[in-house]
């Protein structure tokens, strides 16, 4: 799905070669400040490498228009932006930005329950807690039905139980719909439980990339 060749970004990230498979759940782990978020931002062209090339489906990112790419490869920030307005407005704003048709309120409510957010569509989004905002923003990303989801610590603000529920639904959704999920996480347990591939970054360099074949645990 993605291939990075000799990618250099400031003195934050330096990747010789990295291939990220499609239709899989990949977790990116590493200390904070190791370059995980930078890697995600490079993949949807929120930033561009100083040198090297990144390929998406074998096409160099440098020739894919940024907006077109960002509508297929959607990133969820660790502290997502909540726009003025209601919960419903915040779900719809993603579709508006991506110039996709609006959806019915039923569909919006469905998404809310999918991300385990029990809030009324009309309630003001500003009043939500950090974890609730994160789930709202996750719902907004899911509504866009992207080919690739780049999630930066999507469960950081959640308690263990909600984290389990949300990540479970996410992984199931990815599998069912043949999507690609790249998830930065600090929770080793989440990576072990759900990832098909785990990439570890340290100090801006890939230190390991391993396939995980079984999720039975104990490996």
């Amino acid at each position: 799905m993605f291939r990075l060749e000799a990618v250099l970004y400031k003195n934050i990230l330096s990747i010789e070669l990295l291939t990220l498979p499609g239709n899989k759940v990949t977790c990116i782990v590493g200390e904070s400040g190791s370059g995980k978020t930078t890697l995600l931002r490079l993949l949807n062209k929120m930033i561009s490498p100083d040198s090297g090339e990144i390929y998406y489906q074998n096409i160099p990112l440098s020739i894919i228009p940024a907006i077109e790419l960002r509508r297929k490869v959607v990133m969820l920030q660790q502290f997502p932006v909540i726009f003025p307005g209601s919960v419903g407005d915040n779900l719809l704003v993603g579709l508006k930005f991506a110039e996709k048709p609006a959806v019915s309120s039923e569909k919006l409510s469905e998404i809310l329950s999918f991300v385990h957010l029990r809030k009324d569509l009309n309630s003001p989004a500003e009043k939500l807690s950090g974890g609730e905002k994160q789930r709202l923003a996750l719902g907004r990303v899911l509504l866009l039905e992207p080919e690739v989801m780049l999630l930066d610590e999507p469960s950081a603000g959640l308690d263990e139980e909600t984290e389990q529920l949300v990540v479970n639904s996410l992984v199931a959704y990815t599998k069912q719909n043949q999507k690609t999920l790249l998830m930065v996480t600090h929770a080793k347990q989440v990576a072990r439980d759900y990832a098909e591939q785990i990439i570890e970054i340290n100090n801006g360099k890939i230190v390991s990339q391993q396939e995980v074949h079984s999720h039975a645990g104990g490996d």
Binding site: N44, M46, A66, I67, R70, V81, F83, V93, A98, L144
Partner: protein, 259 residues
Amino acid sequence: MQEVIKLQLWQLISAYLFILLLLGIVKIRKIPREKEIALATFRMTIQLVFTGYLLVYLFANSHPLLTAAATAIMLAFAINNIIKRIKTPLSPKLKKVIALSMTAGTLASLLYFLFVVVALSPWYEPRYFIPIAGMIIGNSMTGITLGVSRLAEGIHNQKEMVEGALILGATPKMAAKPLVDCAFDAAIIPTINAMVGMGIVFLPGMMTGQILAGVSPLTAIEYQIAIMLGIVGSVALTVIIFMELGYKTFFNKEQQLEI
């Protein structure tokens, strides 16, 4: 027409009493602004005396090149003033956009006003051209200064919101829209308010001047209405050109926010 009361030198000097009064008050209240007040008064006096003589010369030697040069100088000063007055750092590209929108917006409005509304003949008649150019350029300068600072501050302060929109696939235009709208408001509202208060809260300078010079108030208001409309048009046009081009300078060709 009645004769204008010509101020004698001592009469003019007696008006400086207002400044002495002000200086006295700030001194007593220990507001450290004496220097600024004195300097501002001094500058105002020198600049106006200079302008007075310059205008006398221009009126006496009416020539298209002189009128054009005077307008160009006013415009250059206005552009320089806008750039100097804005606290947020401005990129060279944004400075170019400021210069371009000021030049295009004010000249288009000025030429329309002089040739269609006033039907000036000859076209370079400095007695009309220069004061009207001054009013149009000056008001546009104030409007665009407000617009530029609101836009630049908005993008700096709300960087996350702009990036949050880009990350969801928004074009820079969509991402910057709330900030552009807000900046447009800030730029245009003082001019709209000036129209609302006009004639009741204050008598505008040009109209007052004409009335003092003995022109009938009815002629004076005709000019005032026309110039006010011209000013609104010029402020709006200048600010619209600026907004259309200005927000783009904050993004690079990869549609990334660059500040």
